[in-house]
Structures are given as C-alpha cells and as structure tokens.
C-alpha cells in the first residue's frame, strides 16, 4: 500500500473513532444533558462519518487498488502523487474547519464563522473534483 493510500486509510480510521466517540457523547447527552454544544455538533458528526470515514476510506483504497497506468502513459503509475496529497490536505482541512466552526455558527450567526464554514465547503468540493481528476484515467481494464 503506497504512503498516500496509507495516510488516507489511517485518517479515515481516526475519523471513524472520533465520530463514534462523538456519537456516544451525543447519546449520553440525551440521557444526562451534558451540554448545549453536543446538540450543535449533529451535522458535523454526520459529516465526520460520511466524508471523513467512509468517503476517505473509499478514496484511499481506490488510489491503492485501481489499475495502474502503463509505462509511458503517465509519469507516475498511480497518477500524480502531488495531486493526491493536495486532495488529502484539502479534504481534511475542509472537514476539520467545518467540524471546528459549524457548531459555533449554529449557536451564533457571526458572518466570519459563516465565511469559514463556506470555505470548508469549497475545500471539500475541490478535493472531490481533484480526486475525480486523479482517478478517472485509472478506471480502465486491467492488463
């Protein structure tokens, strides 16, 4: 498994644990009333699961196992590693930005918080487009 795929998969597992931890706290909150902020992280927790865990795992595994380019077709057999790292950083910066600021935005509608959350959406969309660009040519028959 190449370093980029390992990084995607390890990050995915960290989000998996973090999202389940948050989910456990949210369940406890329904019983014990731990704090208002736990009711504001519902959307963030959902995104940690769907984007941070499942989508990121799919991206990492696809980068690892999809058919590689033939010699001479591309400079690198799995496509541009630089683009792959850009996808990784963009996706995770977007996810973390959203996770950190969206709960505060739901409690206080400050424009600067809205701007940061909007930026998180743009970063994640750029990561999705970058991944599509990176992997498209490798969706092809095996040798």
């Amino acid at each position: 498994m190449p370093p980029l795929a390992r990084t995607f998969v390890k990050a995915a597992f960290l989000y998996f644990v973090a999202a389940f931890l948050l989910g456990a706290l949210m369940m406890l909150d329904q019983w014990l009333g731990l704090g208002r902020w736990l009711r504001a992280v519902y959307l963030s927790q959902l995104h940690l699961l769907v984007v941070g865990w499942i989508s990121q795992l799919a991206i990492g595994v696809a980068y690892w196992i999809f058919p590689r380019f033939r010699r001479g077709e591309a400079a690198e057999p799995r496509g541009s590693a630089a683009l792959g790292w850009a996808v990784f950083y963009s996706l995770n910066a977007g996810l973390l930005l959203r996770f950190l600021f969206e709960p505060f935005l739901l409690m206080d509608r400050a424009p600067w918080l809205a701007a940061l959350v909007a930026l998180s959406g743009v970063l994640q969309a750029l990561a999705a487009l970058g991944f599509g660009w990176l992997i498209w040519g490798r969706v092809r028959p095996m040798e």
Binding site: S55, A58, P111, A118, G121, F131, P141
Partner: protein, 155 residues
C-alpha cells in the same frame, strides 16, 4: 476492471463531483445568501453523495473484486472461463445500474423541482424513486450473493 464496473465507478465519481459542489453551494449560502432556491438542493446533495457516490462506488468495486462464481463445466461441455461469465448475470447488473441511477435522479431532481415549481409531477417522481432504489438493491444482492464465499484452499 470490467466495463460494467468502469461505468458504475465513473458514474459514482460524477455524482461525487456534483454532490460536493452542491454541498459547497449550501454552505456558501449560509454566508452569502444566494437565494431561497438553494435550500431545496439539500436532498439532492445527500442523495447524490450517499447513494450516487458511495453506494454506487461500492457496488462497482464489489462487482469487480468479489470472488468469482465457482468455475465448472458449462451445459455445452466447455469449462467456464474467468472473467465476466464468472461474475454473475451481466444483464442483471446493467439493470441494477439503470434502476439505481433512475432512483437517484428521480429523487435528486424531483425534490428540488417540487419546491421550485409547486407542481405535482416532481412529487410523484420523488415518491416513486424509493421503489427504483429498492429494486436495484434486490437485483444487486441476488446477483452477488453466490460470490460471497471462501476463496482458495482452507479459506
């Protein structure tokens, strides 16, 4: 990767791109109001990413990589060769893709159109989408079931 999986995975990548851009629009709308019409895209965003991207990607990769059907003698006496014939019914897989994408598009386009046009037909389209998705799920499970098996000696 067989052509069936290639179409499936490429369709899923297209949904990923569209779904993520819709998500960005929804978040930008919280900062710079683009209009009330944007809120109606939330269902499309969720549907495109959960079913169009993730589910369809998993179906495509599963169809490609799961263990092949047991190799055996065919009715004409020849041995089945590895490849498409040992993946299951190709026509049923195409039907699965057709049903899944019809369901995703009916729901993903019907829900916002219902809000924007106040017409009844998008509501009907959206309402029917669930049956297309259910049929796709049943067709795929029937097709892949026999391939969920041990592979190799002692497995």
């Amino acid at each position: 990767m067989p052509s069936t999986s290639r179409i499936c995975v490429r369709a899923s990548l297209a949904y990923l791109a569209v779904g993520a851009v819709l998500g960005a629009l929804l978040l930008i709308n919280r900062w710079l109001p683009l209009g009330a019409w944007v809120y109606a895209l939330k269902i499309s965003h969720v549907q495109f990413l959960i079913v169009g991207w993730l589910t369809q990607f998993i179906l495509g990769v599963g169809w490609w990589l799961f263990p092949p059907l047991q190799l055996g003698r065919q009715p004409d006496g020849t041995m089945a060769r590895r490849g498409q014939a040992t993946r299951g019914s190709e026509s049923l897989f195409w039907m699965t893709l057709g049903l899944l994408n019809t369901g995703v598009l009916l729901r993903g386009l019907g829900a916002p159109l219902q809000v924007w046009t106040h017409q009844d037909w998008p509501r009907a389209a959206s309402g029917l989408s669930g049956f297309f998705l259910l049929a796709a799920a049943i067709a795929f499970v029937l097709n892949i079931w026999a391939r969920i098996r041990a592979l190799g000696r002692g497995a």
